[in-house]
């Protein structure tokens, strides 16, 4: 009954609106630009300009709120005065960088773990489709390599070495509380990311139990903030990417044809000098690779009221790969909201991102298929054939010669389709309720959904269809479509207790975690297409099976897999006086994968710190921060075989299967031999680290030493062929990674007055691997390594050069004697080399001067040895007449040129032995990233309506210094004819209002 009365009683008055202006300064009196000034209870607001000045229209009695990151919020009521000057105070709590600790956060000072957090500024505005590529070189100990230039390709990410032989070696990724598929980031917009934290030691990862063995990467996306007006931000980037250079020194048409004539092989064999001179040189690398254009647009809107805030972004990304027929288009939407109750006891946040991408992704890359691998065509096609020689697929059938490789592939470019469409949705809800002052209940629900459609079609009039269909089947060709869906749900429920009394602080939590994942796929493979009605993705051209033959029989496929985990765990963190702290974690973990053998596992960790700088005796020392950390603990890897949650789901059982047998008749056959002792791999890690900041924070850094031992390594164990298999995987052996992470940053020039700031940085990781307890009699396993040796150490015959006497290849036998005829078995030796780096990291500088900025980042890698199989192709004398060669062959052994590195073309043993002849050092220094730009000062923007304007130019992989002769020194790959990562130049601008 009161309400109507109240309304009726409201009085009316004329209120006076006036303009308030003033100046905002910080604690030391310097002007603060960009402070948000908002009239409480309205959406009216403004920001201070470059000199800290503002003006706003308000009514007397209204309340102005001044907020700025790292400063305490100030409230002023509008009174008679029309000038309100504000001096803000530093907010010590807020200034402390927040450190993600897994399921909770802490301040940098009170963190006991080894972790690194990267902020948006260092990852935004880069042209990479996947943010993982951008992370490369930014965290000591995190080795990121990308072996494919396919837009959005997955990278290989190893934190502090590789911890598993057969299982997952990638870190666990958590986006806004949701664990996500680590092999698929192409659909996520990197511009939405606010921060990335890399958790390295057991103190940080044990709480992730069965999933934390390879480290954890925690990603937070941007959020709106409470009580801020609408901010609109737009970023546009335009990039051009090109093929990186190579050093193979390839022949032109005249050289290649002359070589052919000398060898009596191929086209050149029957040509005269004059005829040879008439040929043009086509560099097929320039044909199959060309400049790729990348556009990247992101528009974001954020705002916040008293009890709610939101961040919304729209992104459009369109990248042409440098390889023909490879591209990625992505449309992404993100909406993050957060809110709280009036009494601030209940708070929640939701994160939802919906993404759609379309990508043309050629297959057979890396293979030796001369009619399918475009990269092969780019590299080894003979230069005297030109694209003008192409007419159609049918004309290539006869004569069918290898040297027509580029035309086969050109035909395939025109007639083959391979496309992936993907929808990816990630959503999460975090909610918490403060039960008492000290106790809160929290829940995080999250889901990751991914739906992918693959469409492949080989047109009926294509060379490949005609070739394999033959005249008997003019409607050859095929179309395949596969739908793959993956859904995972994760829920963490917890009770958290925080209390401070005297100098003591205790933060403890009890948690349960439930994870369930589902995989479904289905598809068809339709043989026979009618060229009159065929269109990729449509069934109009399908040819049906008939009674005359079986060549038009179609196949169908479908798969169901389910996976799950369940765990409960607890963590307690105790701090005394900001000087000492200890954190303990214990987790019980169950995996569906070991349900038949060892269902439950326990992981734990203990971590401690000593904030030396907070001790009395450290007063007036040069150290601003000096903190010693140590941790010890275990985490697990339940994905011991294959990279996905669904691979090897039930290895503990013997299985038979049904399927086509003899003559295609349905049959029953053995499909799996059980391993009844199966368990997770355990990584036990000891870490000791020191964080330091000196000379008024000008020198900052940390150093961490670690020993990381994987035990119960799941690996192939040889069994006698009488069992129908020659190896079974079992938990046996150890792999130890020992190493050091170092990060140093120094503000070389730090000036407030003239605005010149220069920071230099260097970071790196040294890592040494050692295998132990390998499952073989002599402690050696070919392909894996030997006890005490490196992982995947090469075991091969040593090449020793060319015999000056006869041009044959020379090798070393096991005892080191030179021989032309080594024993392919017993003369192989361990050569103490592998593909993983001993050292890797980066260095560079960040410079800014009055709005101009320049950043560089050089990545380096030392200790990588790879087989240059592309070089082997370019030097293969048996391919003369078919493929392209390097000018290296001019140095071939002849009786007149006896001292050389190129064996005689006729050396009897030129293809008899596998050796380390083409093993090459792939160490490199690369300008991984450089950026130059200008931030327009607020003064210049006055009256334009913009609050922020920035222009910039970027370069990725601008140059590389390396002995490696191939197109990309970075790829952690021993294959050949792979798709190299490009060199990319970008220009972009960003504005906000």
């Amino acid at each position: 009954m009161l309400t109507p009365l109240l309304v009726l009683c409201m009085s009316f008055s004329f209120s006076q609106e006036k303009t308030i202006s003033g100046n905002v300064t910080d604690q030391s009196g310097l002007p603060l630009p960009g402070v948000a000034v908002v009239i409480v209870g309205t959406t009216t607001g403004t920001q201070t300009d470059f000199d800290g000045n503002y003006s706003i229209s308000a009514q007397v009695g209204q309340v102005l709120r001044y907020t700025y990151l790292g400063q305490k919020t100030v409230i002023r009521t509008v009174g008679a005065a029309s000038t309100i000057n504000v001096q803000m105070e530093d907010d010590a709590e807020a200034l402390q960088e927040v450190v993600v600790q897994g399921y909770r956060t802490s301040t940098k000072e009170k963190s006991s773990i080894a972790s690194v957090t990267i902020n948006a500024e260092t990852i935004e505005n880069r042209p990479n489709a996947s943010f993982v590529q951008t992370l490369s070189g930014q965290v000591a100990g995190l080795n990121i390599t990308t072996a494919s230039g396919q837009p959005g390709a997955a990278s290989q990410v190893n934190l502090r070495g590789v911890t598993s032989i057969n299982g997952n070696t990638q870190p666990l990724y958590i986006i806004d509380g949701s664990p996500v598929d680590e092999n698929n980031f192409r659909s996520l917009n990197p511009q939405d990311i606010a921060s990335i934290s890399v958790l390295k030691d057991a103190g940080a990862t044990a709480i992730y139990g069965n999933r934390g063995a390879n480290g954890v990467i925690v990603i937070k996306t941007r959020q709106g903030s409470y009580n801020t007006g609408l901010t609109v931000n737009y970023t546009g980037i335009l990039s051009f990417s090109t093929l990186q250079d190579n050093d193979y020194n390839l022949m032109n048409s005249q050289e290649q044809l002359t070589l052919e004539r000398d060898r009596g092989a191929g086209l050149g064999a029957s040509l005269t000098d004059a005829e040879i001179d008439a040929y043009q040189t086509t560099d097929w690398a320039d044909f199959f690779f060309d400049t790729g254009l990348i556009q990247n647009h992101t528009l974001s809107l954020s705002s916040g009221g008293d009890n709610s805030s939101q961040f919304t972004s729209f992104g459009y990304f369109d990248q042409e790969g440098i390889l023909q027929d490879s591209d990625l288009k992505r449309f992404s939407i993100r909406n993050n909201t957060s809110g709280k109750s009036n009494n601030e006891k209940f708070n929640y946040s939701t994160n939802l991102t919906i993404n759609y991408s379309e990508s043309n992704e050629p297959n057979s890359i890396g293979s030796g298929a001369i009619n399918r691998n475009y990269v092969l065509g780019a590299y080894i096609s003979v230069p005297y054939i030109s694209p003008d020689d192409y007419t159609n697929g049918a004309d290539l059938l006869s004569p069918l010669v290898f040297s027509n490789t580029p035309l086969f592939l050109l035909d395939r470019l025109r007639t083959y389709t391979r496309k992936e469409d993907e929808v990816k949705v990630i959503g999460s809800l975090n909610a918490g309720y403060q039960l008492t002052d000290n106790l809160s209940a929290n829940v995080t629900l999250s889901a990751d959904y991914q739906s992918e459609f693959l469409t492949r079609a080989e047109a009926p009039d294509s060379f490949n269809a005609l070739l394999f269909g033959g005249a008997a089947n003019p409607t050859s060709g095929f179309q395949q479509q596969i739908s793959t869906r993956q859904f995972s749900f994760n829920q963490v429920t917890s009770l958290n207790y925080v209390n401070t009394w005297g100098k003591h602080t205790l933060d403890a939590g009890a948690f349960t975690e439930y994870f369930k994942a589902h995989f479904r796929d289905f598809g068809f493979f339709a043989r026979g297409l009618d060229p009159k009605t065929f269109y990729p993705g449509d069934d109009a051209g399908f040819v049906s099976d008939n009674s005359a033959n079986d060549v038009f029989i179609d196949d169908a496929n479908a798969t169901i897999r389910n996976a799950g985990l369940f765990s409960y765990f607890g963590q307690a963190d105790y701090d005394y006086d900001g000087r000492y702290g200890i954190t303990g974690t214990i987790r019980r973990d169950a995996s569906y994968r070991f349900a038949g053998s060892n269902k439950w596992a326990t992981f734990y960790s203990v971590a401690g710190r000593w904030n030396i700088d907070n001790e009395v005796f450290m007063e007036n020392s040069i150290f601003d921060v000096l903190k010693l950390r140590a941790s010890y603990g275990t985490s697990g890897n339940q994905r011991i075989s294959g990279a996905t949650y669904f691979s090897a789901p039930d290895l503990t059982k013997n299985f038979f299967a049904t399927g086509p047998g003899y003559a295609g008749i349905n049959s029953i056959f053995l499909s799996q031999i059980a391993n009844t002792t199966l368990k997770w791999e355990t990584v036990t890690q000891t870490n000791v680290g020191l964080d330091f900041e000196l000379f008024n924070n000008r020198l900052r850094g940390n150093v961490d030493g670690y020993i990381k031992e994987t035990s119960d390594l799941f690996q192939s164990t040889p069994v006698s062929a009488i069992n129908d298999v020659t190896e079974l995987d079992a938990n046996t052996g150890t792999l130890t990674n020992t190493g050091l992470d170092l990060t140093l940053r120094y503000n070389l020039i730090n000036s407030v007055d003239d605005g010149l700031n220069l920071e230099i940085f260097a970071l790196g990781n040294y890592n040494k691997q050692e295998l132990g307890d390998l499952p073989s009699e002599d402690g050696e396993l070919i392909g894996t390594g030997r006890n005490g040796g490196k992982l995947f150490e090469y075991y091969t015959i040593r090449y020793a050069g060319v015999n000056p006497a006869n041009g044959n290849l020379l090798f070393l036998d096991a005892d080191g004697n030179v021989t032309e005829n080594p024993d392919a078995d017993t003369d192989r030796v361990w050569i103490d080399k592998n593909i993983y780096p001993d050292f890797n990291g980066s260095f560079g500088l960040n410079l800014d001067y009055k709005g101009f900025f320049l950043q560089t980042q050089f990545n380096y890698t030392i200790g990588v040895d790879r087989f240059d199989n592309d070089l082997a192709d370019f030097q293969d004398p048996d391919a003369i007449g078919q493929f392209r060669h390097s000018r290296d062959l001019f140095r071939v052994w002849t009786p007149d040129n006896r001292i050389t590195d190129i064996p005689s073309f006729d050396a009897f043993n030129r293809s008899s032995f596998t050796s380390d002849r083409y093993l090459r050092n792939a160490d490199y220094i690369r300008l991984r990233f450089a950026s130059i730009g200008y931030n327009f000062p607020a003064k210049l923007l006055e009256g334009t309506g913009f609050s922020r304007l920035r222009i910039f130019g970027n370069a990725e992989n601008l140059f590389t210094i390396s002995e490696w002769r191939g197109f990309d020194a970075e790829a952690l790959n021993n294959g050949s004819r792979i798709y190299p990562t490009p060199k990319t130049l970008s220009v972009g601008f960003e504005f906000g209002f």
Binding site: F402, D550, I560, S667, N723, S912
Partner: protein, 500 residues
């Protein structure tokens, strides 16, 4: 406090709700465990198709033809087979590994079926089917052991020499067994053939499955290989009497898989089966269409032949012989003056033994036992007994009988000056008759010395690598035990074959 309790209960409920075991006790759909796999005779029948599916000779065809003198490097060769072609053979080579692993895989599958059959009790009306299944399982086990013996035993005729590991049971994964003697392995083969013969019924109409005639053929081959020519003569004669020889039309049709006159046992290969594909080209790993051992696309000049017929084999085949039409593609480019022109590009001999069937180029059934091979075994027995000349009951008579059928005319009765000449004639006849069927390597091994022959390539085929001849006494006519087996079973290293 009341409020606190409420929330605490709610929290508890949440935990319980999600704590269900559905996350950790998951049975994937479509799994068939060992207990449920074989419960009925019909299941055993399906299991038998699974065992047959493990038998493949495409690797043998590839290896034998590349390593010996049946083929030459083709103009469309992209590096395929160069090591085998240069006689490079060691414990790390492909052939020993895939032959060893493949045959033991098939034997293991047969043993699993035999053991599963013990637990199935057939109904009265299923007894015949049950016996037939079991009989074929034993026969397949014998075939597997025979295959291994052929490649890994140093001397078939010596019962005390080392054979392979005799497997008549399903082993456990930690077992490390050593080689048995030839006597023991052949003992198991004969016993298996006896068991098979007593279980199989008398229907021999379908040559794509092992029947009693197949057993008899295996007996004939085993006896001949072991030098036991009395038995070999008896068994081969029985089959020769029953099957006879194909006429020219039937012979051509046989290699299109439309005639079975001469066929005692062959492995069916059809569209959609597990061998319907290219397989591993140029490698004894093979596993696809038989014809893809020589060409990528089809058995014509335009079919990208990466191997061509060896000139020395080609020179042995008379164009009037139906075997010329069967083996040499009409699209071949033949240079009569190849020896003087010395240009392989002018002399392209395209192999057509496997032109394809069922509309699929290069895909043909794999012929295991044919009556012509029985005839040639019978001829060996005559030669061994000294009766190599004469119009009847002699090597010469049988060779003439075979040629008459192949030429379709009355050919001259050959006369041999010596036993060696007779064996050389048999070996040459086998080389033509059984070309590209995986026999040449084994034939040179066991008959080479008696015929005074070895690998002999025409100079034009080996000019580029110098690997022209290899005497039949070379250690490489027995395969090495593969490294892959030593990794699991290091004791076997001591039993490696000589020379490796």
């Amino acid at each position: 406090m009341k409020n606190f309790n409420k929330i605490f209960y709610l929290f508890g409920l949440f935990t319980v709700l999600v704590a269900c075991n559905d996350a950790i006790d998951i049975d994937q759909p479509g799994r068939l465990d060992a207990e449920a796999a074989f419960k009925t005779v019909a299941d055993l029948q399906s299991g038998l198709y699974g065992v047959y599916d493990r038998v493949d000779t495409s690797g043998e065809i590839a290896f034998s033809s590349i390593f010996t003198d049946e083929l030459s490097i083709g103009f469309d060769n992209g590096g395929q087979g160069l090591a085998d072609y240069a006689f490079v053979l060691n414990a790390g080579s492909t052939a020993p590994e895939v032959f060893w692993v493949g045959a033991y895989g098939a034997i293991n599958a047969a043993n699993r079926l035999i053991e599963a059959a013990q637990l199935v009790t057939p109904e009265a009306d299923e007894q015949t089917q049950y016996n037939n299944i079991l009989g074929q399982a034993y026969a397949l086990r014998a075939l597997g052991h025979l295959f291994l013996q052929n490649y890994f035993s140093t001397n078939y005729e010596d019962d005390n020499a080392l054979g392979v590991i005799a497997m008549d049971f399903v082993p456990t994964i930690d077992q490390q067994l050593l080689r048995n003697t030839n006597g023991e392995v052949y003992g198991l083969i004969i016993a298996d053939l006896d068991r098979a013969n007593s279980l199989l019924d008398n229907d021999t109409s379908d040559p794509t499955f092992l029947n009693k005639d197949g057993i008899l053929a295996m007996r004939a081959v085993t006896a001949a290989y072991r030098g036991n020519y009395t038995q070999a003569a008896t068994f081969s004669q029985q089959l020769l009497d029953k099957y006879g020889l194909a006429n020219r039309a039937e012979y051509e049709a046989m290699f299109l898989d439309t005639d079975n006159t001469e066929i005692i046992f062959k492995l069916e290969r059809s569209v959609g089966d597990n061998y319907d594909g290219q397989g591993n080209t140029g490698s004894p790993e093979a596993g696809g269409w038989a014809g893809a051992r020589f060409a990528f696309v089809d058995a014509t000049l335009a079919g990208s032949p990466y191997f061509e017929m060896g000139r020395s084999l080609f020179n042995l085949i008379d164009p009037a012989d139906i075997r010329y039409d069967v083996n040499v593609a009409p699209t071949s480019v033949i240079d009569p003056d190849y020896a003087t022109n010395n240009d392989p590009a002018l002399d392209i001999l395209v192999i057509q033994k496997y032109p394809g069937s069922e509309g699929q180029p290069l895909m043909n059934d794999l012929k295991i036992f044919r009556s012509s091979e029985m005839l040639l075994i019978r001829a060996e027995a005559y030669a061994d007994a000294g009766s190599f000349n004469g119009a009847t009951n002699s090597t010469a008579a049988l060779i003439k009988q075979l040629r008459d059928a192949r030429f379709g005319t009355d050919t001259t009765l050959p006369v041999y000056a010596s036993e060696a000449e007779a064996f050389a004639a048999i070996l040459d006849e086998r080389r033509v008759e059984l070309a590209f069927e995986g026999h040449r390597y084994k034939d040179l091994k066991r008959l080479g010395s008696r015929a005074n022959q070895g690998v002999n390539k025409d100079p034009i085929d080996c000019a580029f690598n110098g690997a022209c001849t290899l005497p039949s006494t070379d250690y490489r006519f027995t395969l090495p035990l593969p490294i892959i087996e030593f990794n699991a079973n290091p004791g076997l290293r001591e039993q490696q074959n000589p020379g490796y």
